[in-house]
């Protein structure tokens, strides 16, 4: 589906309000729909934004975007279950963009090119907050609250911070230096972490309040392994639950748990335990899992790697009895299963096959079936569920005890890092509201829509192979805990980021916002005052559409900006429209219909409520009857009124997508005393009419360059083709007129390839100079 304009100052991404001089009413607006990847991220990381920035080689800016919603980029870049990739529209074309590995690259890039550590954030508020547990959820909440000026102390029972990240995830997946670097970053910001401090005792919660903490976030994780409840359990030595096993390995030098090991379960802990046992020297490692590989909750990559390393996975097998001799485990009887009807989780329920028992020999059994919180303090009024997890409101994370909030695995049972981070955000928001006396309803509107609604036209996209992750040879992995995956190099990261289809409103890189901060009165583009082109909030559409431009005062949080609003919605030029219906057939929002004009003829009519200003109709109209909201002769003339004497006047008409993620500084290398560059961006390259080129020449341009996205990446399907066709016409016209056709150039540039975009402009300017400028 075509998407709204890129590189616009998309001020309506956040909540805010607008007021208009001379008008009483204020207009509130909410956040816009995110792209599928961003929508899928439980923590609300703006995935598309940082992928866009990485495609432009801006790794630092990308990391800043990630850190806004995820304080642990290097960790999540390694171990996140990446729901963003599952939602990626590229799944339909080939394979999803390797978002997780891109995030890892951005984080690793900073480690490899260290700058100044972040400045400590000033504590601006009186209230103290206690966070129990320095895992991902606790650290996220602490980070959010410190950034809001609170004094936050994190209490951690284990000797090092990280929670399950350090206790449960082996170092070959998550090197400790990465973990400690990210925790250092957070402590540098001002988060206090007291490790080795267990919160225990019947009155622990009351004690914390007595110590002056005004809000408490219980993010204690789920570190206690659940029982198998089968025969033989508890009778023999050699049974060790996964978390305890991994904890042991991670905190102290370890021996192999046994020579022949059976791990029970299908989650990441099971796979981690199995791969860890192999590394410690176990000669045979089995995983026993009740269902099939399809249902296995562990990451597919992890299962692949485990199998490569030699782990034997028994699918459709359930433990029946642990057997042993002389008090020591000697094996386990398993029963074969088959899949029956789906259960309440939607997965098909495993059903035992009668008389199918078989024995697997082993001297160690590691149950990894699930964990629950280990609660060693009095709950006071906090409730416990029947699964022994803490009960908290799923939106606000509030427990029944005022001022006490809970989240992460302690509430959900064992879940993912990214879900824990999401809870941390919600808890921090609620604590802010609790401490400032505001109601506790979820302060952030739910980030996730039932399903990502943004679809794009995928038929035209060609397959580009997803970058593979370079990894250590299998033979070299055993006997050590060195990181298995090596990470991308810079070129691979950029190429992989450029696979992004950039669904959704604009590239969201926010480069324009940083520009705007420098010039709060008016957005300045390319050194010249430019117009704000914005998607208009629903309740403002009719107002903005009824006037060509509106001055308004914009308020987002504490930020106040004067803006000029211009509608991007196209207008149907009733005098030009011939009622052919082309626009109706291409509009994916159903915003256009043919209405009777008079007699048996029809003209097209736009419904401003439905129109999303994507511009596809503008490109598709064969007659030029769809006029973009801001493009008319006056607009063009104002743009062309910038010819210099004694210089090469280069006019570039470009698709806005070509220039997205483009920073004005990057054009400086082209703009010299000799080259007067005038960059004129249209919604889609297809909107560049032959008349624009002629008018530019008539206005004194030495050369005119047209750029559009190539056929592959055109967001509107027809843009590149249209501009190429008009290019041929216009060249033959100027030839007859006696003008050198070389003065007109055309280039198809993949969407967002700002490097090629700038190079193309520079090359064209050079060719004009070689031809004598005029």
């Amino acid at each position: 589906m075509p998407e709204p304009t890129p590189h616009t100052f998309d001020i309506f991404r956040e909540e805010g309000q607008l007021s208009f001089p001379g008008k009483k009413e204020e207009y509130r607006f909410g956040p816009v729909e995110p792209s599928p990847c961003t929508n899928a991220c439980p923590a609300g990381v703006n995935v598309k934004a940082y992928v866009s920035l990485m495609a432009a080689g801006k790794f630092g800016a990308a990391l800043d975007v990630i850190r806004e919603r995820n304080p642990l980029p290097g960790i999540c870049g390694r171990v996140c279950t990446h729901p963003c990739e599952a939602a990626c529209n590229r799944n339909v074309v080939d394979q999803p963009v390797a978002v997780r590995w891109l995030k890892r690259f951005a984080a690793d890039y900073e480690l490899a090119h260290p700058g100044e550590p972040p400045a400590k954030i000033e504590t601006t508020r009186q209230e103290k907050v206690a966070v129990i547990g320095a895992g991902p959820s606790g650290l996220t909440a602490a980070n959010d609250l410190v950034r809001r000026g609170f004094d936050v102390t994190v209490f951690e029972a284990l000797p090092e911070a990280g929670g399950m990240l350090i206790a449960g995830i082996p170092a070959y997946r998550l090197p400790r230096k990465i973990l400690s670097a990210e925790i250092d970053y957070l402590t540098n910001l001002g988060i206090k972490i007291e490790t080795g401090t267990k919160i225990e005792g019947e009155k622990a919660i009351d004690e914390l309040f007595k110590q002056g903490f005004e809000a408490i976030y219980l993010a204690i994780g789920a570190h206690k392994g659940k029982k198998l409840n089968i025969k033989g359990e508890g009778r023999y030595r050699g049974i060790l639950d996964a978390v305890a096993f991994l904890n042991q390995v991670n905190f102290s030098a370890s021996e192999k748990p046994g020579d022949k090991v059976i791990v029970i379960g299908g989650g990441n802990s099971a796979v981690d335990s199995a791969r860890t046992a192999l590394r410690l020297g176990s000669s045979e490692v089995h995983i026993v899992y009740r269902r099939t590989r399809q249902e296995m909750p562990a990451d597919e990559e992890e299962i692949d790697e485990a199998e490569k390393e030699g782990v034997k996975i028994h699918y459709l097998a359930a433990p029946v009895e642990i057997v042993g001799k002389k008090g020591r485990v000697t094996g386990m009887t398993c029963q074969k299963m088959e899949l029956g009807e789906p259960d309440e989780s939607g997965r098909r329920r495993p059903v035992p096959i009668p008389d199918s028992e078989y024995l697997v020999e082993a001297d160690c059994i590691i149950p990894a079936i699930s964990q629950e919180p280990e609660i060693e303090f009095g709950l006071s009024d906090v409730k416990l569920s029947r699964w022994n997890t803490l009960v908290a409101d799923e939106d606000t994370m509030a427990t029944d005890r005022p001022g006490v909030f809970a989240g992460g695995d302690a509430v959900t049972g064992p879940s993912t890092v990214i879900d824990a981070i999401a809870h941390g955000h919600r808890a921090a928001d609620s604590i802010l509201h609790y401490l400032t006396g505001q109601p506790l309803e979820n302060p952030v509107p739910p980030q996730m829509l039932p399903e990502a609604e943004i679809k794009i036209d995928l038929d035209q996209r060609s397959q580009i192979a997803r970058a593979g992750m370079p990894a250590m040879e299998v033979q070299q992995r055993l006997g050590n805990f060195d990181e298995v995956e090596f990470g991308f190099d810079e070129a691979t990261a950029i190429a992989e980021a450029q696979r992004c289809l950039r669904c959704g409103p604009c590239a969201e890189c926010e480069e324009c916002v940083s520009l705007c901060d420098k010039q709060p009165a008016m957005l300045t583009v390319d050194g010249h005052t430019g117009e704000y082109l914005c998607r208009v909030p629903d309740n403002l559409r009719s107002l903005v559409n009824s006037e060509s431009s509106l001055t308004a005062n914009l308020k987002i949080g504490k930020k106040k900006i004067d803006v000029i609003l211009q509608s991007l919605q196209p207008r149907v030029a009733a005098n030009i429209c011939r009622g052919c219906g082309e626009c109706v057939s291409v509009c994916d929002y159903g915003a256009l219909e043919l209405i009777a004009s008079s007699g048996d003829l029809q003209i097209s009519q736009l419904d401003p409520e439905k129109c999303r200003a994507c511009g596809i109709c503008v490109s598709a109209c064969p007659n030029g009857a769809m006029l973009p909201g801001f493009i008319d002769d006056a607009w063009l003339n104002s743009k062309l009124d910038r010819m210099a004497t004694g210089a090469t006047n280069l006019v570039v008409f470009s698709c806005r997508w070509n220039g997205s993620s483009l920073h004005s500084d990057e054009l400086a290398q082209i703009r010299t005393d000799k080259v007067n560059l005038n960059l004129i961006q249209t919604i889609c390259g297809g909107r560049i009419e032959p008349g624009f080129v002629l008018k530019a020449l008539a206005a004194g341009a030495s050369g005119v360059l047209l750029t559009a996205c190539d056929d592959e990446s055109c967001h509107y399907g027809v843009g590149a083709r249209r501009v190429r066709e008009s290019f041929d016409e216009i060249r033959s016209l100027v030839h007859i007129l006696g003008t050198d056709p070389q003065r007109i150039g055309f280039a198809a540039i993949p969407d967002g390839d700002s490097v090629k975009f700038i190079q193309t402009i520079a090359d064209f300017a050079q060719s004009l100079n070689n031809n004598g400028g005029k």
Binding site: A574, I576, G624, D633, E689, E729, L733, I736, G738
Partner: protein, 381 residues
């Protein structure tokens, strides 16, 4: 400014308006667009309500086809009044919308440059015998080379008319002069109210033509001819040559026996261009050519001659829904004759009617639209 406009009101005889409404009743635009009324526009002009007129889109709707002037009992020149008003709008006012993003209008303006080095005769092949400096007869090509490069999506070649015309002239032993740096005649800019650029184009053309020593200028384009014959003269330029539409020249040649033509093979109907017909009062010559040596095959449309229906657009302005209706009506009239060919005598009629017929899709009736010169060339033995 209003004084100048009021002078135009007086000069065009508008004060004599009887408000009889004949103009509106014959106007092709009014017929399909209920809002538009020449009588109301005149009424506002007489009341000197110029601000209302300038704010009105309809100031740009008039096709200047002259149908109204023809029936006016008070001999008012409504189209001249329209032109004067258009010429007096300032840039902040609504202007007529030039189709195709103003390509043709911009080309016309760019041709006012004095030292232009056009490649506008690339299409002249070796089979055509022409001169580019001096000669008795000058053939004024018009903008066909540009049209053919731009309207690549239309199944037509307006240069065919030029090539056919030259072949016919060569057949008659005439080696016509063609101007390598010919400019747009300025017709469109004049009717768009752009007098300055119109005059510059006229000057360039007249200066170049004077150097050729020609005595006669032939036109395939009725608009070019009307520009020379009417507009140049009315605006004080000297035009000391015999000016003829190719069809007028051909009619003379047939009449004098110098040109013998086979009968028209298939039934044909004729689209009178407004400029050749009502503007220059020539209705007979093209028909004489088409009828020569057996005229049974010429069939007339319901509206023809003085009452002919315009092709729907003038000066590339405001090609719109009303335009389409006028053109469809005209094509329907042509289909109703049963003719297989529609002869045209102006490239604009050719382009506009071809465009509408082509966009109607493949299902409806079709008529072959051809310039009278190409039809005539085929009839030479």
């Amino acid at each position: 400014m209003h004084e100048e406009l009021y002078a135009a009101v007086q000069q065009t005889n508008a004060l004599a308006c009887l408000e009889c409404g004949k103009c509106t009743s014959v106007c092709p635009v009014s017929r399909f667009s209920q809002e538009y009324s020449p009588r109301l526009m005149l009424n506002q002009a007489v009341k000197q309500d110029f601000d209302t007129l300038f704010a009105d889109y309809d100031l740009w709707s008039c096709l200047t086809c002259q149908r109204c002037d023809q029936v006016c009992p008070s001999a008012i020149s409504y189209i001249e009044l329209t032109q004067t008003l258009r010429n007096n709008t300032d840039s902040s006012r609504f202007k007529g919308q030039c189709s195709h993003s103003g390509v043709l209008e911009t080309l016309q303006k760019m041709m006012t440059t004095r030292d232009l080095r056009q490649n506008r005769l690339d299409w002249v092949g070796n089979e055509l015998d022409i001169s580019t400096d001096t000669g008795e007869i000058l053939y004024f090509v018009g903008c066909a080379p540009y049209f053919d490069s731009f309207f690549t999506n239309l199944e037509l070649s307006t240069l065919d008319a030029a090539i056919s015309s030259i072949k016919i002239l060569n057949h008659l032993g005439i080696k016509p002069v063609l101007l390598p740096q010919e400019r747009c005649c300025g017709h469109d800019l004049y009717w768009n109210g752009d007098m300055d650029n119109f005059k510059m184009l006229a000057e360039h053309n007249l200066e170049m033509i004077a150097k050729t020593g020609c005595k006669t200028i032939l036109f395939s384009c009725a608009e070019c001819q009307s520009a020379f014959q009417n507009l140049y003269v009315e605006n004080g330029f000297k035009v000391p040559w015999k000016l003829q539409h190719l069809s007028q020249f051909l009619a003379e040649q047939v009449e004098s026996g110098k040109l013998e033509l086979a009968p028209v093979a298939k039934p044909v109907t004729f689209q009178d261009p407004c400029r050749l017909g009502r503007h220059l009062s020539e209705y007979d010559a093209p028909r004489q050519v088409l009828k020569s040596n057996g005229g049974d095959n010429l069939v007339e449309m319901k509206q023809h001659g003085k009452g002919a229906l315009c092709c729907g657009v003038s000066a590339w302005m405001n090609c719109d829904g009303t335009t389409r209706k006028i053109q469809n009506e005209r094509l329907d009239q042509a289909y109703a004759t049963g003719a297989e060919t529609m002869a045209v005598a102006c490239p604009k009629c050719h382009i506009h009617l071809q465009c509408t017929q082509q966009h109607a899709g493949d299902d409806g009736p079709k008529i072959e639209i051809r310039d009278i010169a190409t039809i005539t060339l085929e009839r030479i033995g």
